[in-house]
Assembly symmetry: C2
Homo-oligomer: 170 residues x 2
């Protein structure tokens, strides 16, 4: 039973609702922290919420600039870094890119599944992965502070076709 507020990136869903829900949760999370969702930050988050893909800082910057915000790299990096610190955006290291968090405000240990066909990025629930990683670290008496777990491969749609389904997927 799919939860309309937490759809999987790879599966068709009401994306307007999906993005709206994420934005609402993000606003709530920021208010709770007593930090400000300024226009640049809000717009940055909106841009990332438009699709289940990861965007490079310069892609975001281009969008921001065309909306009348500053057009120098720090403008984008500052907004992205802020949102990442607040847990509203995840950095996909493999892609040097950023993607909106689909579970803002919730405790979660995400693993990212990156489709090399359509470039969709799904945030998979990965509590078990996190626990296994924690166990592996403990065996070496290592204290984990932050971690990134990413997998590259093919989403269900792209695995089934010769040509990847780049178009149409939010």
């Amino acid at each position: 039973m799919p939860d309309p507020d937490h759809p999987v990136a790879f599966a068709p869903h009401d994306h307007t609702r999906c993005a709206g829900h994420a934005m609402a949760r993000a606003e709530a999370a920021l208010a709770l922290q007593g930090v400000r969702l300024t226009p640049v930050r809000r717009r940055t988050l909106q841009i990332l919420l438009e699709s289940h893909r990861a965007l490079g800082a310069y892609d975001v910057l281009e969008r921001l600039a065309s909306d009348g915000y500053g057009n120098q790299p720090p403008v984008a990096y500052r907004a992205l870094d802020f949102l990442e610190e607040q847990g509203l955006v995840h950095r996909i290291r493999r892609l040097n890119a950023f993607t909106a968090c689909m579970h803002p405000g919730e405790v979660h240990a995400p693993a990212f599944l990156i489709c090399r066909g359509c470039h969709a990025v799904a945030e998979a629930p990965a509590a078990a992965v996190g626990q296994a990683l924690e166990a592996a670290a403990q065996a070496l008496h290592f204290t984990i502070e932050r971690s990134n777990i990413e997998a590259l491969g093919l989403c269900p749609a792209c695995a089934g076709t010769t040509e990847p389904m780049v178009r149409g997927l939010v």
Copy 2:
């Protein structure tokens, strides 16, 4: 019971033996594949084997250049990319850097533990992590081709001191 051929990066060990073993295994693995360990490639691997740290491509390049090899970025990237394809070097995406594989020729699903104190990088056995990740992907019908699992934190030595123990650790 510590295995002298597979020491943990964080623990003191006979590093000459550790590196020598890794180089020998690497040579065997390459011979098996019928590919060539040219002087630049060999030297690149040696450089990475000198310490349990990750080096940026430009750090490696500097070393190669001072040894009389070419001093342009592609020289380092080609050697590093080759070694990574052959499974002799791992790329640490969080650091934009490369580290020598400690288990060349063996099937292994490594997780990398990166100490932010001394910058040591340990390759933790993580079969369970890999399995959990595979399970999380299967739940979304995603096919994993490659993955990277990295954790940032403190190694046992650095966790126990105010000042990180940067010096002396191989």
